[in-house]
Amino acid sequence: MRVAIAEDSVLLREGLARLIGDAGFEVVARCGDADELRDAMRAPLPDVAIVDIRLPPTHSDEGLRAALDIRAGHPTVGVLVLSQYVELGLAMRLLADSAEGVGYLLKDRISDVPDFIGALRRVAAGGSAIDPVIVSTLLSKRRDGDPLARLTPREREVLELMAAGNSNQGIADRLVITLRAVEKYVSSIFDKLGIPSSGSDSRRVLAVLLYLRS
C-alpha cells in the first residue's frame, strides 16, 4: 500500500514514516506543506494521504483545503487528517456528504500503533475513521426524553465504535464478542434511534453523526 505524508514537523513526519514503513507500507511522499502534497498527487497515485490539518505557511486551513482538494480531485485516494484538536465543525466539512475514504483523528492516536494502522488501512480501502472524542462529546450531552437515553451501556459502546468507522467485525474484535451479537446490537440501536440501517460502514458513520448532531 502506498502512503503520502504531509506534516511540517520533521520529527513527526519521520516518526510517522518509520511507523508506517514498519507496518509494511510504502511511503511514497514526505511533504512539508500543502503544495508538496498536491504535487504528490500524480500517477501512480498513493492509496492514502496522511495530512496534518495545520500546514505552512499560515498554519490555518491549508491542510484542510489540501485534504478537501484531494477528496474532490482524486476520490480513490483515502485522506486521513491528523490534528491536535478534533472539532465537529471540521469533521462535518471534511465529510460533507460522504464518509467514504476519509479519516479525522487526534494526533495522539498514532501512539496506539495497531489501532492507527487499522484506521489507516480502513481509510485507504474506502472506509472511515472518525476520532472517538467526537462521538463521545456528542453523546455526553444531558438530554431529556431522548431516544439515546434508552440505549443500554453496551449499545452505547457499539454506537461509539460504529460512529468511529469500525466494521461489525472490527467492533466484535474490539469488544471480544461474536459478530452475531454485534449485528443484534446494531439493529437494536437503529431501531431505537429510528435510523434506517441500510448501507456500508461509512454510510452509517455519516448517518449516526448527523443524527447525534441534530
Binding site: Y85, E87, G89, T137
Partner: protein
C-alpha cells in the same frame, strides 16, 4: 473675543454721528436740486439731466443708509463720494466758466468712483492687487489726465484752466484717457465676473446677479467712451441705459445691507432655539446664518486637535475661497470654529451676533465633544488592551502547539513504535503502557489549556466551524444557526465566539436548562449574536458569569451586550457587534 484669524472683522471704518449723516443727506438733496435747477436754466436734455440727478440722489442717500447701518464698512463713504462727484460733474452744464471747468474736471471721476464702489462692495475694502492697480490707473486717468488735457487747452476754446494752447496734443491725450478709462471699466467687469465664478455664493444669489447686471453698465460706458473717440458720435439710448443701470445699483447694494439687517431677527430666533440647547447646534446656527453648508468644529486642547460634536477629529478647511473659518474663543485659545460660506464674511455683525448668542451653547458643545473624545479614547485603549491580550494568547497557543504538544506526540509515537517492537510478554510493556497513558493525559490537559488560551479553529476556519464545535461540546443540545456570509474581522469573530462560549458555559453551570438556541446573523452592519436557554433565569449578571468581561469585549468594539434573565423564564444574551 478672539477675532477671526482668517478674515479679521473690520474695525477700520469711520464712525459717523447721526447728525453728520443727516447733514450729508441734506447736502445730497441740495446738490440734486442745484443740478436740476442748472439743467432747467440751461435747457439741458431732460432725460440725461434726470438720470444724472438720480445718480447723485441714489448714491448719496444709499451711501448715508449704508454708513448708518454698516459703520464698519467704508462702502457708505465711497457711495457718498461717488454721488457728490457726479453732482460736481453736472456743473459742466453751467454757462459760467469756473463751474463749467469744475464740471469738466470731474466729468469722468464718477466712473472711477462708481467702479470703486462695485469692486469694494460690501466691505468698502479692495480685495486684491489687480483691483488696486485698476483703480489707480482709473483715478490717474480720470483726474490727472483730465487736468492735463485741460491745462493743455483741451475741451473747448476759452476753457478757464488753459495754460498753453496745445489743443491738438490735448485732443490726443484726451482720446488716450478715454481709451484707458474704457479699459479700466471693462477690466473691472472682468474682475467682478471672475470673483462671482470663484465664490459661487449660495446666499443671496439673486442679489448678486442683480449687482452683476448693473455692472454691465460699465461695458456700455466703455462702449460710449470708445465710440466718442473713434466714431465721434453719441449713442443717447445706450447712454441712458448705462446711466440708469449704474444709478439703480445702489438700491441693490442697500437691499443687500438690509438683508443682513433682517438676519438679526434670525439671531433672535437662535436665542430662543438655544434656550433648551439642542445636541446638534449646527442646524439652528445654520438657520440663523442662512448658510446650509455651515459646520461646527470644537477645539479640544487636551488632544491638540479640532473635533466634531461627537469628538471625532476633523481638519479645518484651507482658506481657499470655497469656505471661510470664523474662530470663537477666549484669550489665546479658540473654543470652536464655524466653517461657513465666505459670503458671510460680508456680514461681520451677523457673525458677531450669532457668536454672542451661541457662546454658552458652543461651550457646552465643546465640553460634550471633549467628553466623547475621551470616551472614544478610552474605548480605543480598552480595545487595544483586549487585542494585545488576544494576540499574546494566540502566540502562546501557537507556541504550545508547535512546541510541547508536538514533542509529546512525537514522544508517544516513539513509545508506540517501541511497544510494537517489544515481545508480547516483555516485562517492559506495562511500564510503556503507563508512560503512554501519562502522555495522553498531559496532551489532554495541554489541549484544554491551549483551547482556553485561544480557539485556534476560529482563526483558522471561521465562526461557523468554531461555533459548530462549541455547540457540540455544550452540556445541552444546542440548535445552532450561523449565517454571517464568510469571514469577519478577527476581533469581531473572537468577540462573537466568546459571547457564545461564555453564554453556553453559563447555561451549563447555572441555568439548569434542557436546550439552548444559538443564533448568529449579520444584520445592518452588525453581527447579532443571540444565545437563549430554557433554564431557570435570574442569573447574576455581575458575578461569576463572565458577563462583565464579555460586555467589555463587545463594547470595546463599539458593540452592545444585553442580558434578559427573568426568574423561571430562561436567559437571553444578545450582542450586537458592528462589523462594517
Amino acid at each position: 473675543m478672539l477675532d477671526d484669524r482668517h478674515h479679521p472683522t473690520s474695525s477700520i471704518g469711520i464712525a459717523a454721528k447721526p447728525l453728520v449723516l443727516r447733514a450729508i443727506a441734506v447736502a445730497g438733496l441740495a446738490a440734486v436740486i442745484a443740478s436740476a435747477a442748472l439743467a432747467a436754466a440751461t435747457g439741458h436734455a431732460v432725460l440725461h439731466a434726470t438720470l444724472m440727478c438720480w445718480i447723485v440722489l441714489s448714491y448719496v442717500l444709499s451711501g448715508v443708509l449704508a454708513w448708518w447701518h454698516r459703520p464698519d464698512s467704508r462702502i457708505g463713504a465711497l457711495m457718498i463720494l461717488a454721488g457728490f462727484a457726479t453732482f460736481l460733474a453736472t456743473l459742466s452744464w453751467a454757462g459760467g466758466q469756473v463751474p463749467h471747468a469744475i464740471g469738466q474736471a470731474f466729468d469722468l471721476v464718477p466712473v472711477a468712483l462708481i467702479l470703486h464702489v462695485f469692486l469694494a462692495y460690501p466691505t468698502g475694502r479692495l480685495r486684491g492687487r489687480l483691483e488696486r492697480v485698476l483703480l489707480t490707473v482709473g483715478y490717474t486717468a480720470a483726474i490727472g489726465a483730465q487736468l492735463a488735457v485741460m491745462l493743455l487747452g483741451g475741451l473747448g476754446p476759452g476753457q478757464v484752466l488753459t495754460m498753453t494752447d496745445e489743443a491738438a496734443w490735448a485732443g490726443v491725450l484726451h482720446d488716450v484717457e478715454l481709451v484707458v478709462i474704457s479699459g479700466v471699466a471693462i477690466g473691472g467687469v472682468v474682475v467682478l465676473a471672475t470673483r462671482r465664478r470663484a465664490e459661487g455664493q449660495p446666499l443671496r444669489r439673486s442679489l448678486s446677479l442683480l449687482i452683476d447686471s448693473f455692472a454691465l453698465g460699465f461695458i456700455m460706458i466703455a462702449f460710449l467712451l470708445l465710440a466718442g473717440v473713434f466714431e465721434g458720435r453719441p449713442f443717447p439710448v445706450v447712454q441712458a441705459v448705462a446711466l440708469a443701470a449704474l444709478g439703480l445699483a445702489p438700491i441693490a447694494f442697500v437691499a443687500g445691507l438690509l438683508t443682513a439687517r433682517l438676519a438679526r431677527t434670525a439671531v433672535g430666533d437662535l436665542l430662543l432655539a438655544l434656550r433648551a440647547p439642542p445636541v446638534d447646534l449646527r442646524e439652528p446656527l445654520a438657520r440663523a446664518l442662512r448658510d446650509p453648508s455651515l459646520t461646527i468644529a470644537y477645539w479640544l486642547p487636551q488632544f491638540g486637535s479640532w473635533a466634531d460634536q461627537d469628538g471625532r477629529p476633523v481638519v479645518l478647511p484651507p482658506d481657499d475661497g470655497r469656505s471661510a473659518v470664523t474662530l470663537i474663543g477666549t484669550g489665546v485659545e479658540p473654543m470652536a470654529a464655524l466653517v461657513h460660506d465666505p459670503a458671510l464674511n460680508d456680514e461681520p455683525e451677523l457673525l458677531d451676533a450669532v457668536r454672542a448668542a451661541a457662546w454658552i451653547a458652543l461651550e457646552n458643545g465643546r465640553l460634550r465633544a471633549e467628553q466623547r473624545a475621551h470616551l472614544d479614547e478610552l474605548r480605543g485603549s480598552r480595545a487595544r488592551v483586549i487585542e494585545a491580550g488576544q494576540k499574546e494568547r494566540q502566540r502562546l497557543e501557537r507556541d504550545l502547539h508547535d512546541g510541547a504538544q508536538q514533542r509529546l506526540v512525537a514522544l508517544s509515537l516513539d513509545l508506540g513504535l517501541l511497544e510494537s517492537r517489544l515481545d508480547t510478554d516483555s516485562a517492559a510493556r506495562p511500564v510503556l503502557a503507563q508512560a503512554k497513558r501519562e502522555i495522553a493525559l498531559s496532551l489532554d490537559e495541554l489541549r484544554d489549556l491551549a483551547r482556553g488560551l485561544h480557539p485556534a479553529v476560529l482563526s483558522a476556519h471561521g465562526l461557523d466551524v468554531a461555533l459548530e464545535s462549541l455547540a457540540a461540546r455544550a452540556a445541552v443540545p444546542v440548535r445552532l444557526m450561523v449565517d454571517v456570509g464568510g469571514r469577519l474581522a478577527e476581533q469581531v469573530e473572537v468577540a462573537a465566539y466568546y459571547v457564545v462560549c461564555e453564554s453556553l458555559a453559563n447555561v451549563a453551570k447555572h441555568a439548569q436548562a434542557t436546550a439552548a438556541i444559538v443564533d448568529v446573523v449579520r444584520k445592518d452592519g452588525c453581527v447579532v449574536v443571540e444565545v437563549v436557554d430554557d433554564g431557570i433565569g435570574g442569573a447574576d449578571t455581575e458575578r461569576g458569569t463572565g458577563l462583565r468581561g464579555l460586555a467589555d469585549r463587545v463594547e470595546a468594539l463599539d458593540g452592545r451586550l444585553r442580558v434578559w434573565t427573568p426568574l423561571r423564564a430562561g436567559t437571553r444574551v444578545r450582542a450586537e457587534i458592528p462589523c462594517g
